[in-house]
């Protein structure tokens, strides 16, 4: 059994690598879109097999444990549905001449390299390797954000590149400091970077050094999570790149950085004399939430609107993990999953809407439920879900975050509820016009793939009504690990 599950970890990493090489060589875009979907499906199956088989022993470089398996399954699932969406999206982009065939070859190969980078970041047991993997995933998304080669797209890519590079530089400095803290206890060499070794000996590390390291790591990886005031790259990158990339940026890449922050939070929590990481995360989370909620009101570009909504939700998630304790961690974890599913579904819908209407300007998109009922109602459900209305999944997770905050720190719950309500108002304000206003713009039928968006929304809906007990026990277990 051990050999088999080792193979599953290898498959999660190797399938994207081989697929990337193959896609770089394939000239026909229809075939490569199919290969992209098939490779993503295989990766998803390999990830799912990790759930049922025994886990491999943690090595010096790779690790599968209860925490990262949640992230891996979510990552490969959204990666797969996005590849399905991407296939129909890019066909339209090719027709409208925004992308060329060589562009697409590059795009597909990069998509798989990005999946490899993200999967590697999740399964790495080595903080140095994790850093390299996050850098790789970031670089590939930078290249894809700039793929339209317009002035705006290049500007967005450049901004993302520079801010992202500063972020990874700070994260690397933090990583070096963690090594310095570990080296006197664990000894020189690779062992002092292996996460399982670090966590076992964290209690004896120099607390002052760990504190400084965590600040750098939080700032560095926090840039990638999109926490205010380090979020400046996020709205541009979401708005100017191809929509499938907006979906994976919001749904997946932000989670990768969040995962890195959580790992180091655990390390700090294991050292009794180090500062508590919670208050720092609570502050950054609340700032992001309230700031993004205000910013939602003046958005005129529909993708930019939902990019700010991603900042808002990452704020809520980081806040929840900052509060800590079994209930808040459970809520944060659930919120993260629900946000990934809902936000990528929204971007799938918005991508098709922008293609049909030929614009991303909110003012020019009106009355969608009349002209394109399937897309319009998907957007309505998506926005209702992301705004946190019952009975959908996000309502439940937000409710859990708020109630656990009330139970432990009632004063902190006030700005939290304020931010959530503010964002709620902004989103519904925009939604009414877009979905129910006087129809405007093109009424040409949409050639959309409805399966990805509706399957995500169905999952979010189902989770809002009924969470299966095995899932609850699983998440409760992970929440208890997170301390």
């Amino acid at each position: 059994m051990t050999a088999f599950s080792l193979d599953a970890v290898a498959a999660i990493l190797l399938i994207p690598v081989f697929a990337a090489a193959l896609l770089a060589a394939l000239p026909k875009y229809r075939i490569s879109a199919g290969v992209n979907v098939a490779a993503s499906l295989l990766t998803l199956l390999a990830a799912l097999s990790l759930l049922v088989t025994d886990r491999p022993q943690p090595g010096q470089y790779l690790l599968v444990d209860d925490l990262n398996i949640v992230f891996i399954v979510l990552n490969t699932f959204v990666g797969f549905t996005t590849s399905v969406f991407s296939a129909s999206y890019i066909a339209h982009e090719l027709e409208s001449g925004r992308l060329t065939v060589p562009n697409l070859r590059f795009y597909h190969a990069m998509y798989q390299v990005m999946m490899f980078g993200m999967n590697l970041a999740f399964v790495s047991n080595n903080i140095g390797l994790m850093w390299v993997a996050v850098e790789l995933a970031t670089l590939t998304t930078v290249l894809m954000v700039g793929i339209y080669r317009t002035h705006e797209a290049l500007e967005a890519a450049w901004k993302y590149f520079i801010l992202g590079s500063v972020g990874i530089a700070l994260a690397l400095f933090g990583t070096i400091l963690v090594y310095m803290a570990a080296q006197p206890v664990v000894g020189e060499g690779t062992n002092a970077m292996v996460w399982t070794v670090l966590i076992a000996h964290a209690a004896r590390f120099d607390p002052a050094l760990l504190n400084v390291a965590f600040i750098f790591l939080l700032l560095g990886y926090g840039t990638k999570v999109g926490l205010a005031p380090l979020h400046a790259w996020l709205p541009d990158a979401h708005a100017e790149g191809p929509t499938p990339i907006s979906a994976v940026l919001s749904g997946l890449l932000l989670n990768v950085a969040l995962y890195a922050v959580l790992r180091f939070k655990l390390l700090l929590a294991a050292s009794p004399e180090a500062i508590a990481p919670g208050p720092l995360m609570i502050t950054m989370g609340l700032t992001s939430l309230v700031f993004a909620a205000f910013m939602l009101y003046r958005r005129r570009d529909i993708k930019r609107l939902f990019a700010y909504s991603s900042i808002e939700h990452m704020g809520i998630i980081v806040f929840a993990f900052g509060i800590g304790g079994p209930l808040a961690n459970f809520a944060g974890l659930l919120h993260m999953v629900m946000h990934s599913l809902t936000k990528s579904a929204i971007f799938f819908t918005v991508g098709h809407i922008a293609q049909v209407k030929g614009t991303q300007n909110i003012a020019e998109i009106r009355g969608l439920t009349e002209t394109h009922p399937a897309l319009g109602w998907a957007l309505v459900i998506g926005v209702v879900a992301i705004a946190g209305l019952p009975p959908l999944g996000i309502f439940m997770s937000e409710f859990l975050v708020v109630s656990s905050t009330f139970a432990r720190h009632p004063l902190l719950a006030m700005p939290l509820v304020f931010g959530i309500l503010l964002a709620f108002g902004a989103l519904l304000l925009r939604l009414t016009g877009v979905a129910f206003g006087e129809p405007r713009g093109s009424t040409a039928p949409a050639e959309a793939s409805y399966i990805p968006m509706y399957s995500h929304l169905a999952l979010v809906f189902a989770a809002g009504i009924y969470l299966p007990p095995p899932l609850v026990t699983w998440f409760q277990h992970v929440a208890s690990i997170l301390g």
């Binding site: 450049w158 400095f173 060499g189 504190n211």
Partner: protein, 220 residues
């Protein structure tokens, strides 16, 4: 530790901070790039010295990368780019030199106070390297925020990255140092190629709100 080896390591790391300061007051692009080349040479010497005293032969590779790639290839490439883009006459500091220097002194003080205070038990050499490295990183950030030009932002980023390499080599026995320096070189190559291919002259921040709205799609 032998007094002389320590002093030489100290001298080279301190020299790196000094060269970082020199970058702050360069108001011509060519001069800035020349100072950066000097920065890379001092880094190469410092890393090579670390390789020698730690008896870690793989660090010679990092030193060679710093010397060949950062001190020769990148500066030559940037010189050409500047000539092609026709921006070699630009004076492009956004903040006055005096203010920048004062800010730089503040940052170095901050990093010394911070790092020396939190690492009282660490190996003295690694400890001072770390303090110097943080100074270089912060000065690199300062170069990035006080310049308007994309090329000088790239130079700022590269000097920041030199600070990281110094920290990584100072941490005794740290694995993956060579791999990380290679990864960074690739990243930098990407940036430089990007600047050249897309003719990015300026960073896209502007105090002109109208221009900002234009590319944020606010008045489309």
């Amino acid at each position: 530790m032998n007094g002389l080896t320590f002093d030489i390591a100290h001298l080279l790391a301190g020299g790196l901070v000094l060269v970082s300061f020199m970058m702050l007051y360069q108001d011509r692009l060519f001069a800035l790039i020349n100072v950066f080349a000097l920065h890379a040479i001092v880094l190469a010497l410092s890393v090579a010295w670390q390789a020698y005293i730690q008896d870690a032969h793989h660090l010679y590779v990092t030193a060679a990368i710093a010397l060949v790639f950062k001190a020769i290839v990148i500066p030559v490439g940037l010189h050409r780019i500047i000539q092609r883009l026709g921006i070699h006459r630009d004076v492009e500091t956004a903040v006055g030199i005096g203010t920048t220097m004062l800010a730089g002194i503040g940052l170095v003080t901050l990093s010394m106070v911070l790092m020396l205070r939190v690492t009282p038990e660490a190996d003295p050499l690694a400890r001072e390297d770390l303090a110097f490295a943080l100074s270089i990183i912060l000065l690199g950030l300062l170069v990035m925020v006080t310049r308007r030009n994309a090329v000088s932002q790239v130079v700022g980023f590269m000097s920041l990255e030199n600070g990281l390499v110094l920290a990584a080599t100072g941490a005794k026995g740290m694995p993956l140092v060579v791999e990380i320096s290679v990864a960074f070189s690739i990243l930098i190559a990407f940036i430089v190629i990007g600047v050249f291919l897309f003719r990015i002259r300026e960073r896209f921040d502007s105090v002109d709100v109208g221009a900002l709205d234009d590319y944020r799609g606010e008045h489309r």
